[in-house]
Symmetry: C2
Subunit: 214 residues, 2 copies
């Protein structure tokens, strides 16, 4: 049995849900309320000393880090493939995914925003401005890259959804939460719309999870 330890609003857990849905893998979910600090309790720490979600349990196997989990799912369940076959295409897709998963998301996650609030005394407006800053810098570069490449298709790479799309959709959801103006990023917008037309993405959306809150 596969169990995903996550949280409805965690964008890294959201990526993992999309990947599991695209692969057609059934899974249970356990939820840790990140803003209440449940990720620091003994249950999750025993699985992941970092106290971060997602964690994937696949029988006796315990995996952390969403991109590592998603590549594992891709290697153990090759169809549909999340990466192209040739190394150059694989590097392009991984580069797009990391431009989100390394360069945008980690600077804006719950614990960093918590430090800005508690240690540095930033109010909600200043924290939102911080988040928007990194999202807009990242999306500008991503829009330029996607709009300027013949490799971009209906999705980030060609006409099937893959690793980059799996990262993009949750990041755009985060962007909406801090009122990011998406007008400058039409290519990102149309790719996300194409993704959200698919049941695998819809079922993974935060508002459709058992632990969702308004």
């Amino acid at each position: 049995m596969v169990t995903l330890h996550g949280y409805f609003r965690s964008s890294a857990a959201y990526r993992t849900r999309i990947a599991l849905n695209l692969k057609g893998i059934a899974y249970d979910q356990r939820s840790y309320h990140l803003r209440k600090g449940e990720q620091h309790g003994p249950a999750l720490r025993a699985l992941n000393p970092a106290g971060l979600v997602p964690v994937l349990e696949d029988g006796p196997v315990v995996l952390t880090q969403s991109l590592a989990i998603i590549e594992y799912l891709d290697e153990t369940h090759p169809t549909p493939a999340f990466l192209p076959k040739e190394p150059i295409g694989r590097a392009r897709v991984r580069g797009l995914a990391l431009a989100i998963a390394a360069d945008i998301h980690p600077i804006n996650n719950t614990r960093v925003l918590g430090y800005l609030e508690k240690q540095l005394g930033l109010d909600q407006a200043a924290r939102d401005a911080w988040a928007r800053n990194w999202i807009e810098i990242g999306f500008r570069a991503l829009e330029t890259t996607l709009a300027g490449s013949k490799e971009t298709g209906r999705f980030c790479h060609g006409d099937t959804p893959g690793l980059a799309d799996i990262c993009l959709v949750p990041q755009v959801a985060n962007a909406a939460r801090v009122n990011t103006d998406m007008a400058p990023y039409p290519t990102i917008g149309r790719i996300v719309a194409a993704c959200l037309a698919l049941p695998a993405f819809q079922k993974a959306q935060p508002q459709n999870q058992p632990d969702a809150e308004p």
Copy 2:
């Protein structure tokens, strides 16, 4: 001809140098002084709209994002391998690498520290405390994971250096720059010492680059 666009002190460029050296790939370097903002000039922007290093040019191929570049090098030059063969081991090594490359490094890089200084008015001591906070949180979890696993050997995974070690050594160099006390992380310390006994790691060190400054 392979050209690495980087900067001696960029920890993501440092990773890429280690990887190229371990694979025995000859390469030229072009340097962009990050603190002077040279990465935002037209030369690098033409290669990478994000204005970030490293960028790897391999003939007509232009790649961004250090982890994507390193996996590309591993796929195109399989020996010595940076990842184990089985999916579980691959996920473990990628998870360790991402625990550094996604969860520690992006929160402390030049542009984030610049925002803390210029937009938020933090002095050097407060910026160093910020960096140490994320390094210590990350290293505590990493030390627990590495010390508690039979998969850990002379290096992060077994007895040959791989993707996780390639990320670990530059992060420990960054930690030293903000005076992180490394005593609580003996396993990290001994793995880094084992890495730095190897010429491929030594040659990649910031102080050994042509653009190095005191």
